[in-house]
Amino acid sequence: MSDFIETLSKNYKQVIYIGLFLVLTIPRVYPLGLPIPLSDTTMGVYNQIEALEPGDVVVIGSSISASIYAEVYPQYIAVMRHVLGQEGVKVILVDHIPEAPIFTERAIEEANAYSYKAYGEELVHLGYIAGDEAAISGLCRDLHDLLQVDYHGTSISEISMLDDINSAEDFTIVLDFTASADSQYWLNQAYATYGTKIALGLTAVKVTDAYAYYTAGQIFGIVESTKGAAQYEILIDQPGLAAQGMDAQSLAHLFFIGLILVGNILYFVKGGKNQ
């Protein structure tokens, strides 16, 4: 027994890696079908989008890069599919980091966006706008003054859907998918100045901070990491990669709880502080 504990103590990294690999891959081969409960934060986003009416304007911001792709992209595409399905709703896509347009274009293709909305009439991709908070401020103040062309190089004055959209006063809701500070920028520039309703799609690390805004009623919803993406996929009845990954996520959490327990037991078996 002591030999086993000794070996485990020496090679704990390998044990964690192999254990983690197994708990993450086994549910891919044999799906467990664990239930995915819905949270209020996700429902807040879903209900607000369901309540949209023809003519409403939805701005979808993105800071998706390779590093947060796995966590935020599934929620981005699930919410985009839902928004695209709302008849007569105008959708403005905008990116806050240089990498983001790649993923936005990919999402447009994957969600088959042009079959729901004609480009320039109900859908536009503005692309990456440099300037962080100043860019979002400019977009909220007067997007015609800020921008000359969209992502594809089409002149803004030639895009008919933008004729009646000038500032954040014309935005019905803003949905920002990020792990960066641009969620705060939208709150500062659109919510604080124009009262525009905002919801966020976030990485798990950022969710705890965002709860302060949610509890205070400053944002109407949060799509939380892959968990939120899975919930959203269930809500729109299009289960995808996030929903499939929740079995693995749940098992991995149990694995970590097990590791914490084993670590503590070994600590006391080996004599606690005295050893």
Partner: protein, 223 residues
């Protein structure tokens, strides 16, 4: 074509994850490709942004005589000024650009930050005490605030509340850490989704064989 793209993507994921075994040239190649592609793309996007957000406006201003558009030459000059950071003689010029950027940033965010993070949060903190959630929230808020009161008399009057605040903080940090774990796992699951599909999955046993061969070779060399 998509199969080739999928294979390349999976190969890069495995190359990056190979750091879990040990530092190796394949990891460094993967890392280099990621950094290079990101920087290259960012440079191109930056050039397009300077063209679309400033140069075109200056050109239009010169053509129509619109002063407000000609004034976009100022941010262009301030941007060029930033590069004088690399010159010992003219470094002071870059400080003008940096000072401008800082002042604009602070001015832009100040109103929103005060509204959202001070007024909005105080308004949000005043919860009705007719639910368990509201009572727990208020006790947690008061106890944490009292924990950060360093005045002796107040701490004495507050009794066990500051101590309770300490535990509330610990629970909050636990929530932060648990969320971090959830996030990291989501990233692993998401990247593995690209690897555990045909034909990419065939790269996994190949990678495992390479690692086993390396372990055996190193063991032999050690003997």
């Amino acid at each position: 074509m998509s199969a080739i793209a999928s294979l390349i993507s999976a190969a890069l994921v495995i190359m990056i994850y190979s750091i879990l075994y040990r530092e190796n040239p394949l990891f460094r190649v993967g890392e280099g490709i990621l950094v290079g592609a990101t920087v290259g793309h960012a440079v191109v996007q930056a050039i397009f942004n300077v063209r679309d957000l400033a140069i075109i406006k200056v050109q239009q201003g010169l053509a129509t005589g619109d002063i407000s558009k000609i004034l976009y030459v100022i941010p262009i000059l301030l941007g060029i000024g930033l590069y004088l950071q690399f010159s010992k003689k003219y470094r002071y010029v870059s400080k003008i650009s940096i000072a401008f950027m800082l002042s604009v940033g602070i001015a832009l965010s100040m109103r929103g930050l005060l509204y959202n993070n001070v007024i909005g949060q105080i308004k949000g903190a005043i919860m009705p005490l007719n639910t368990i959630e509201g009572i727990a929230y208020t006790i947690g808020l008061i106890s944490v605030l009292l924990y950060f009161v360093y005045e002796e008399k107040t701490s004495r009057i507050a009794g066990p509340l500051p101590n309770l605040g300490r535990y509330v903080l610990m629970i909050t940090m636990g929530a932060y850490f648990a969320n971090s774990i959830m996030g990291r796992l989501s990233i692993v699951i998401g990247t593995m989704d690209g690897v555990l599909v045909t034909p990419s999955i065939y790269l996994v046993p190949v990678a495992a064989l390479v690692i086993v061969a390396d372990v055996l070779t190193r063991r032999k060399q050690a003997e």
